[in-house]
Amino acid sequence: MAQDVWVNIETLRGEVTEISYTMLAAGKAIAKGLGGSLRAVLLGGNVKGLAGKLGAADSVTVVDHPALADFNPDAHLLALTDLAKKGAPRAFLFGQTASGTDLACGLAAKFGFPVASPCRTFKVEGGEILFEAVTCGGKIIADGKLPGPTGVAIVMPGGYKPEEAMVGGSPKVDEASPESDLGAARTRFRAYIEPDTSDVDISKIPILISVGRGIGQKENIDAAKELAAALGGEVSSSRPIVDQGWLPTSRLVGKSGKSVKPKLYLALGISGSPEHMEGLPSWETLVAINTDQKAPIYDVATFGAAVDVLELIPKLTEKVKAAKG
């Protein structure tokens, strides 16, 4: 147990989510380095059938209970606490997600476990777990050690290929029933609210003109829309634009928005934070316009230009229109 790695498997509406596989890939590397084994911890309602999709793990612990059918923060935390009481691993991995962060920190506070977040990659050296975390909007990488005897790591995507861990198999499955009364949870899942599907689906649009905080004002988005129209594309955006109510959530690219794989992604005044880049698994051409020469987006963009977006947009629109005749 002392050198084992546990991964909190996340599911959403009955499906194992991608971050779970990223974590299994990470966990496998850590467990190998430590000489321990890898355990998938699967909480849910009627989820036993999913254990067969977790072949990357050496074993799967299933906690099946109706109160865990949809993510219910307090009930899930109670169930995890029961498990951890019986013996905690060397490292416990959670996703940097809507459910992972709630649980990771709740569990850590209950047991006094240290937390490292948001971790991208891990290494084991001389028996110590080293991690690399990304912070300050992607402008800083921090290197650290995950203290023992048990450390909680919150994992972001990007460091491991989830496909590597998407293997079937028949890991040893043990079922645990919660000792706590999950009915006594102080939170309760009520219902999902479905996303609005009346707008265009930006994940299917090949040409995206994406605006970020650098666009300055709501009125300036009209110019971006005109450019998008001239290019036969659509506008999308980073989170601050949606949070300001300047564009609807349907246009959001990133961790909390859509994942897009455009032919052209023109990022106008977007810094390239990890949460934004999470929504861009691939592109053919990424052009970044940002006045900050050190903006993280330049590390990955195909082309870049450090000019003012407000000056560029009308000029580019005009020239695109002229080129199209």
Binding site: G106, L107, K110, A116, S117, D143, K263, L264, V320
Partner: protein, 255 residues
């Protein structure tokens, strides 16, 4: 409902981040600190709840230096109280576990029904204070909330999943909710009202314990990200850049 909003001061990401070569950590000497963006959303959601259902709003922060103006700004927006906890070592930055302990000590008297924190701070490295705080206070936590409403002595938090999917979670109070975005953009307040608050309001000051390093993963060093292959940069003014971009778009078959 009586609501507390913890505010964290974080590096302004617009400025250049410097790493102190002697410590290998962020150089805080000339760093401009600003309130964490999501905390502005948390305050907005708290003010909306107060306007709808009555109650009070208090903002609370650890005195990491230069926090008064932001606290008075919160008062000018409608907060009833501003609390500042001062203590040894806070200016160097406080770990999430230590911060949660300090906030728990200040908020444990039970006079708050709801604590609205930011889901995550931009400089986070050791977990979310809101969730840690909830567990330390023995009350429930729900993070990634984009809306909070009162309903029959409880609250309902709208939790955000990717792609615009939301879930309604009912939460009994007292509770901590981690705010991802308020249901409306944070309000703006004119400088004259902030000046007014500075003259009329008073910040409650409390003494906190010295900040330890407990619960944090050990950070051995910081560095800028590897620059990868990097973008091919296009020089020239906006006109020249537009010209070259049209060429590139033609070459890539977009035009």
């Amino acid at each position: 409902m009586n609501i507390a909003v913890p505010i964290k001061f974080v590096p302004d990401l617009v400025e250049e981040m410097e790493i102190d070569s002697s410590t290998g950590k962020l150089d805080r000497t000339f760093m401009r600190l600003v309130p964490n963006e999501l905390d502005e959303h948390a305050l907005e959601q708290a003010l909306i709840l107060k306007e709808r259902h009555g109650g009070t709003v208090a903002v609370i922060t650890l005195d990491t230096g230069d926090v008064d103006e932001a606290l008075f700004t919160a008062v000018a927006k409608g907060a009833d109280r501003a609390i500042k906890i001062a203590g040894e070592g806070y200016a160097e930055g406080v770990t999430s576990h230590a911060c949660a302990d300090l906030l728990a000590e200040a908020l444990k008297d039970g006079s708050f029904d709801l604590i609205l924190a930011g889901t995550q701070a931009v400089d986070d490295l050791d977990g979310s204070v809101g969730a840690l705080l909830a567990a330390k206070l023995g009350i429930p936590y729900v993070g990634y909330a984009t809306k909070v409403v009162e309903a029959g002595g409880k609250v309902v938090a709208t939790k955000e999943y990717p792609g615009g999917l939301l879930a309604e979670i009912e939460v009994s109070t007292p509770a901590v909710i981690g705010i991802q975005a308020a249901e409306k953009p944070p309000r703006y307040v004119v400088t004259s009202l902030v000046m007014d608050a500075m003259k009329k309001a008073k910040i409650d000051e409390a003494e906190g314990a010295a900040a330890g390093l407990e619960g944090a993963a050990e950070i051995t060093g910081m560095r800028p990200p590897e620059a990868g292959k990097g973008a091919e940069m296009i020089d020239g003014d906006a006109n020249a850049v537009a010209e070259k971009l049209v060429g590139i778009l033609k070459e890539k078959g977009v035009l």
